[in-house]
Symmetry: C2
Subunit: 372 residues, 2 copies
């Protein structure tokens, strides 16, 4: 059985348990749903209907893309549906011969006015739109990578690590002088090495801008890695999956305050990493790092990490919030990214991608704070 | 009065007419709402509350960014709201002293489960979430550019036109050989010329991939502008606003079928342009072009054009659909982008940005089909 069909089978099992007849997944602008790619390979712009009798119907915008990439029992171009999701939904119900009164589930991201129009148009059915439902079930499954995904991450991590080495070398040799030099070097090398591109817009912040968590604009023609602290946050995208690492560059002379930001960040990273173990509550790791920074009278203004995969941010969340109930499980891949930011001193962040193993963890990437 | 305050005043007027006490606009991932930037200058990641008594409260994620860019009567960091939109909403109501029972409006993009939680948490108020409401009012206003916006577009169009010339020269001279060469040249030159970056991911499709409307991946290390038809679709982003143009490159020898795709596309473009006039129904322009292609036994698989601004796609829609009721008005800026795509011959598209004037139109950009 191919990997996409195997993933769909898990959702069919869930549907049977829940008594849901048909689920619609919608990957369209502005509501992106990578679950469609996860279950079919279709890279974007499509509706996917799953039926309790274990049939899938993919409705892509671009049929040529679907024929090249997608796996599903049935594929029908969106143009044959008058390019309207409601018409597609009705067609799916006819094709599946779904009994009236059945439970149909739509995405919890469905806007309220659109939800009303579904309820009106499909009045003979029971429309479900809920946070704890099919999408959440897929999210939980996606957070634990399967064999194919871990293989992609091994390949992707190797490419990412080569990039990290080249970036350090390029900065040290003076070849990469500006934020733009660094960001576009990544864009170029990613594609040369077979990546689809970058997983998100590279953030390159020279020492004058590194105090921001997310620099705006993401990168400029300004200088990079000159005196003080600079941040380079990037991810490469391979067959849909993104890595996510942050290097920091420290160019002397540094103030004592800057040295302390670096040391604390490195220690916080080690503190977090030492706690990664299957069965661990993700919240507790984040809490330990927050406590570490608190003792040093510092505050980290963002979460400690997040899962990565077909999205740059997905489960598990590694945040210190009582609502965060993720438990680490072998196969999860997430970032650890402690950082400190000071309007006067600048900022630094250290971020790597971590795989949870049966016995602990494996650090997939080799990002670091580079002392120039 | 500054431009942002002037824009907010128009929404306050609308609120008074509609009897709405408070409107919340939310510009966060994954629900982006450029209306926040339009009304305050804040480039992203913020909540904006407008009150019927003509007060605005901006709640940014990054207070440093807000202090640098944003205009609002009150600015309070999101961290003071425990980083929760509901707490922010309650605070806004307290600050504004909004009477119980008042009408509060939230975005029509609000997911149904989230809508329910707002209704529950703000049960003492009347929560509105509707397609025809505050967001639609802002959308209609944003579709007609004001003086400041037209000035930005004049500057942006000039930069875009210089880029078009350099791209043609680069391809002709052999300096730009691959899709990546073209795409990264644009990224580099955009920033050198003071742009924030590109308005959307550049699509560079060499002759083997130009049959797709939107090439996937967007660009690769593969050859560009070799024998046959290649497409280059890009936009530059200046102070938040994006241009959007498509060049096509035709490299001989061409088949008769390829020559015909080019000629038909150019004629379709002229047909559409000749109909641009204030008072014209946008739908009719798109219908005329569809008819033109139909007579030639061709089908264009996408709309004729769309408004541009803080988003790459905004009002007015230039589509041939009965639901499209946009009427051209002086100050509107939109694309005209006829194109034809053939799995065997490849594709071509010609796209420029058009400003509606009091008496007709002005073509802001000078994109073209380049015959090599």
């Amino acid at each position: 059985m191919n990997v996409y069909k195997a993933r769909r089978e898990k959702i069919y099992d869930w549907m049977a348990q829940e008594g849901v007849a048909v689920v619609m997944f919608e990957d369209t602008e502005p509501r992106r749903e990578p679950a469609v790619r996860w279950m079919t390979g279709q890279p974007g712009d499509a509706l996917l209907f799953l039926s309790a009798d274990r049939q899938s119907l993919l409705i892509p915008w671009d049929i040529n893309i679907a024929l090249k990439y997608a796996d599903a029992e049935m594929v029908i171009p969106y143009t044959e549906m008058d390019r309207q999701a409601l018409i597609a939904f009705r067609s799916a119900l006819e094709i599946f011969k779904t009994p009236l009164g059945s439970k149909l589930e739509i995405s919890p991201a469905t806007p309220y006015p659109l939800f009303l129009s579904y309820v009106e148009a499909l009045g003979d059915f029971d429309i479900l739109c809920r946070d704890i439902g099919a999408t959440q079930a897929v999210t939980a499954l996606r957070a634990v990578k399967d064999g194919e995904e871990i293989a992609i991450y091994r390949e992707l991590s190797q490419i990412t690590n080569e990039m990290i080495d080249h970036l350090e070398e390029g900065v040290r040799s003076g070849k990469l002088k500006t934020e733009m030099d660094a960001a576009l070097f990544i864009e170029t090398e990613a594609r040369k090495r077979g990546c689809e591109g970058t997983g998100f817009e590279t953030l390159a912040a020279g020492s004058g801008r590194s105090f921001g968590i997310h620099a705006f604009p993401a990168y400029t023609a300004g200088e990079f890695a000159r005196q003080g602290l600079s941040i380079l946050d990037f991810g490469l995208k391979l067959r849909g999956y993104t890595s996510d690492v942050t290097m920091s560059f420290a160019c002397p002379p540094l103030s004592k305050a800057q040295e302390r930001l670096l040391t604390l960040t490195e220690k916080a990273y080690k503190t977090g990493l030492s706690l990664v173990l299957p069965g661990m509550e993700a919240r507790n790791i984040a809490a330990a790092v927050d406590n570490f920074f608190g003792k040093a009278r510092k505050i980290m203004p963002h979460g400690l990490g997040h899962g990565i995969g077909l999205e740059a941010h997905e489960g598990p969340a590694i945040r210190n919030r009582c609502s965060n109930d993720w438990i680490l499980t072998p196969g999860m891949i997430f970032t650890l990214e402690p950082g400190l930011y000071d309007p006067a001193q600048g900022g630094c962040r250290l971020e790597n991608d971590i795989l949870v193993t049966e016995t602990g963890y494996e650090v997939l990437t080799q990002s670091r704070i580079v002392r120039l």
